[in-house]
Symmetry: C2
Subunit: 176 residues, 2 copies
DNA sequence: TAGGTTTGTTTAAAAGTTGAACCAAGCCGT
DNA sequence: ACGGCTTGGTTCAACTTTTAAACAAACCTA
């Protein structure tokens, strides 16, 4: 089959997307690096832990929600542990697993860093979007993400009840 | 001022965006790495050169459109040059500048690689979007990008006529 | 209990990124 | 034409990140 090239509209959208995502990620990384001394990914780990029940998550689950390899996560958590922001704990149910736990210091850093981060996200992204566009963005992205989920993980549903996490964030929302 | 936290809608949109962009970039990198032996950024360099007039671009301009530092671009172009896909040429008008030129071999690699890449972009992204959503995505992203443009580059318009590039891609559209 | 799978880490190598320093070339006012 | 400032691009060294393969321990299942 001959290649179905992108239509002009698609091409414009694609290029715009590339530019925007690159710029956005750079800006956020820069801000977080300056004010928090860590890259976005590190922050995301803290944030995800912070609104997990008990402030702890299995490495594998965390890797899965962050969409990174376990190997990569090991590296990140080791760095965070070195800085005292995260601590590892053994899982009682499954002795293979280890849990990453947000320490008090980690929580403090997060609370100190979150406002600036949120402000950045807001000013760079949401302040430039109408409410409709926010909805559109969510819909577009969830669609894309859903499609890409199964790509790596063959079958979709290996649910284990006891490691289901609540989807409702806690009081101080600390994005991403 | 107390932090304006993200609304639940914004939070959902933000998380969805993070996940989608991470997954998408990973998938594209993986595909390009496998079938083209290069990461997305390298491909982007080739693609941008391919539809520039004369298949050549000043380093600074290229860096600007790719939204990366000149230093980083130097690294990329050096690698591509090593592989014979790109060649450097002196600029006659401004002896400080150097031009990155797509070689025939580079063009060949691009033409061999483009279909797979486009197919990936299409299947992962555009096949999951309605035509309206394509439009929405473009609008959202151009808005974001425009906002972020000036952030680094103070004033907006240092136009130099002779280094204006046409915005209309050539016949075989080789995205991003 | 044997055999396969999942979890998480280790390791070494490669890759990428940064930032400062630097040089050469252009620009500009006097 | 002379200094001094700016721009374009590269270099270099340190550092961070990423990958992939190999591994061990714990689990699971028949």
């Amino acid at each position: 089959m001959t290649t179905r090239w992108l239509t002009p509209e698609e091409q414009r959208a694609w290029r715009a997307y590339i530019a925007a995502s690159r710029l956005l990620e750079d800006a956020i990384d820069r801000q977080l690096q300056q004010e928090g001394g860590m890259p976005h990914l590190f922050y995301s780990v803290l944030a995800n832990l912070s609104d997990a029940p008990e402030r702890r998550l299995r490495m594998t689950d965390l890797a899965e929600t962050l969409k990174i390899t376990r190997s990569r996560l090991t590296y990140v958590v080791t760095r965070l542990e070195r800085d005292g922001l995260v601590r590892r704990e053994d899982c009682r149910r499954d002795k293979r697993s280890s849990l990453a736990v947000l320490t008090d210091e980690g929580m403090a850093v997060l609370e100190r860093t979150a406002p600036g981060h949120v402000e950045t996200v807001r000013s760079l992204l949401f302040d430039r979007l109408t409410p409709e566009q926010v909805g559109q963005l969510e819909e577009i992205c969830t669609g894309i993400a859903r499609g890409l989920q199964g790509e790596a993980t063959e079958s979709g549903a290996d649910d284990v009840p006891w490691r289901r996490r609540s989807s409702c964030p806690s009081s101080p929302p600390t994005p991403s």
